[in-house]
Amino acid sequence: MQDTPFELGGLKFKSRLIVGTGKYRDFAETKAAVEESGAEIVTVAVRRVNITDRGKENLLDYVDPRRYQILPNTAGCFTAEEAIRTCRLAREVGVGDLVKLEVIGDKQTLFPDVAATLEAARVLVKEGFKVMPYVTDDPVTCLRLQELGCVAVMPLAAPIGSGLGIRNPFNLAIIIEQAKVPVIVDAGVGTASDAAEAMELGCDGVLMNTAIAGARDPIAMARAMKLAVEAGRLAYRAGRIERRLYATASSPLTGLIG
């Protein structure tokens, strides 16, 4: 069963799993986990270079931008202005126009500041960025972001790094039904079944970092997530059976012995 490509702002991908590069032991482990995940899109953060430790290796020496689509994020930004500035700098590094927009509204929950996210999205889209906003699982906000010209919407499944899984599948279902752009679950995935569930609901992709990097064996979990996203996608396309309250026999009810 041939799947359609995963398309984001005119770019086509085979893998529907997007992985982050934070929280790994070192760059070698990051590289190994990214490879094992089969992901083609990889998120990175934008930070000041380390002036005092000049010999330090660069992440892009391990995650080759010629092989992977680099997706810079605006993590740590609490205002639209900071997020816009971060995106402009990220683009100037030279890895393209795709950005993961996140404007955080609260330090403890890391839930997005929706008003600031909309404001930043409006400016960034006008400047030619392909904006992928991290957002609350709110159908109306997702619609607004889509109307502004974002190339995807990325509702959270649960708080960033929480591993709580998909807390509101019904909102996600509404978002998916309304969306004309890809819907990517971003944040909250804890284990493979969460990723599969997101795909079974009809999400176009899943973005995760901690679920892989924080696992006891990140490389094995990267593979588990790859398989889960593939399995969930295939199940979605195959079309699951209806849920029924009572049994329906799997074996014939005729021809029974004696």
Partner: protein, 72 residues
């Protein structure tokens, strides 16, 4: 120390000693940074890669140099 301030820039938020009118490319070289791995702002204005060779860093300039690090 006023003397050190007079011959320095603010690099990523901290004073950094630098001779007057240093080419940006010389600063990047001194920091061992490849242009394909960083982006530069001078006084809040992004310096496009194409302008690196013609850009000079002046005493008192606020310079930001960023790169990509692990993140989700």
């Amino acid at each position: 120390m006023p003397g050190s301030i007079a011959t320095s820039i603010i690099l990523n938020g901290d004073p950094y000693p630098l001779g007057s009118d240093t080419p940006l490319t010389a600063l990047l070289e001194r920091l061992n940074m490849r242009r394909g791995r960083v982006a530069v702002e001078i006084n809040r204005e992004i310096v496009p890669k194409a302008n690196y060779d013609a850009t000079v860093v002046r005493v008192g300039d606020h310079v930001e140099i960023i790169n990509f690090v692990g993140g989700g």
